[in-house]
Amino acid sequence: MTDDAFKSDLLDVDPLMMDILLDHYKHPRNFGELDGANVVYEEGNPSCGDQLKIMAKTKDGVIEDIKFVGKGCIISQAAASILTDLVKGEKLERVRDLTKDEMLENIGIPIGPMRLKCALLALKVLKAGVYGQASWPGEEE
């Protein structure tokens, strides 16, 4: 087995998307505590130890500022960075209407069934914070 065989396999996710994801992981956008936030919600993923807290300031139905703190795997943390970027300055309806599929599209690499929870943690935390909507409509718990 050559090195190349390994490389191509590890990176058979689009290398560009992997780079973007790594960048979000190592240099997360909107990372840190947010003073004066009126929306604060925190949740973890006990099976893998991902932790995420999202804080937002909203005014007149618009997300004026949003930050997160957390620790965990690349998928969960990069997703939080991507999501906060996506909704900053947007109306709250945008958060309500954001679907799983749109979130996964924004993450940009194929997400296997074992990683779905990691990929959707940020969206779940944000929706729960904004709408008290801790589970997905129609989802079997």
Partner: protein
Amino acid sequence: MMEAISERAAKQFDVENVRRDFSVLERKINGHALCYLDNAATSQRPKAVVDAVVESLTWSNANIHRAIHTLGYEATVAYEEAHKKVARFINAKSWREIVFVRNATEALNLVAGSWGAANLRAGDEVVVTIMEHHSNIVPWQLLAARLGFELKFIPVTPDGILDLDAAAKLITRKTKLVGAVHASNVLGAINPVEKLREMARSVGARFLLDGAQSIPHMAVDVRALDCDFFAASGHKMCGPTGIGFLYAKKELLDGMPPFLGGGDMIATVTTNGSTWNELPWKFEAGTSAVAEGIGMGAAVDYLSNIGMNSLFEYERELGGYVLEKLRALPYVTLYGHKRGESLAVFSLNVEGVHPHDGANLLDRLGIAVRSGHHCAQPLMNVLGMDNTLRASFYFYNTREEADRLVHALGELKRVFDR
């Protein structure tokens, strides 16, 4: 005794030969040959075990201890014979000291729920190690909340081995039971259980071993260990899931109240009360996992045929090889393996790589490892470990697979360093 061991160790162990017994090892995962290194979670099952289960299900299926007919007789004999195989495997005095349960977790719950509930009260202490799997912590916590006794933990040294000086201070006249994991599922450390047993004996306490991780890899002799209780799971030692066993000394089992009540565990039932069946059935209420029990018997036969001492020697050599390779990787933090004897179980972190991502990418290379806290959060906390990757080897793993793991860890590092 020593002669017998060296004689068996000398028996030729041929890894390529045993690999043929496990058809799953022919599988490709994501285009790569499966490299199964999650054996501390569950082992794979050899054909002999699968065949025994299939035969029971398709040819000799009946309820045991009830049916007069031929199939009932066959099933009863085979299920009892499985108890006898396990008894011989661990050198128990009698097969009636072997209680079949679902898994080691249930065995430990049985000890707490039956022996513990009958013998512990406020002012007593139960001492376990900080290395325990949650299954030897939570049942005692639940019981302590009801009965008011105290649960204490023997700490580990920074090297990740049991702190025996601290143990000597913790184990006192108040101690009614000392419980220890025989080998750690996180660090691989084989604990100095004889020393703990002596401490337990010196204060008149009972001594319990959680053997879920040890018995798949090393010869276990419960009479030499002189433990009062020994818990194990079938599925970690080549057997099916849903079956495990508790060994306990007969005089203890005789004195213990039943754990679950129901069918098969009684001698007589009247509206005024009931009397109990003979051992071990007193503790096996309801219809048993018959095929699984017979499968565990076949697993014990399979392991005995290989020889536990030659298996142990092979794994020790393989573990030494892995250890040397892992130590040479500057970006890998390895937990444990600093002092004392260990199984080939390696908990580690790759700098800059979350274990979950690591396990995910290793899977893309066909390598199955565990990531997480391994159901041993107290130990992880004191050693300052968060989550780890865990590669756990078994006798069907090879040096080539160890090389693949080491190479893949390097790839992980490279991917995340970009």
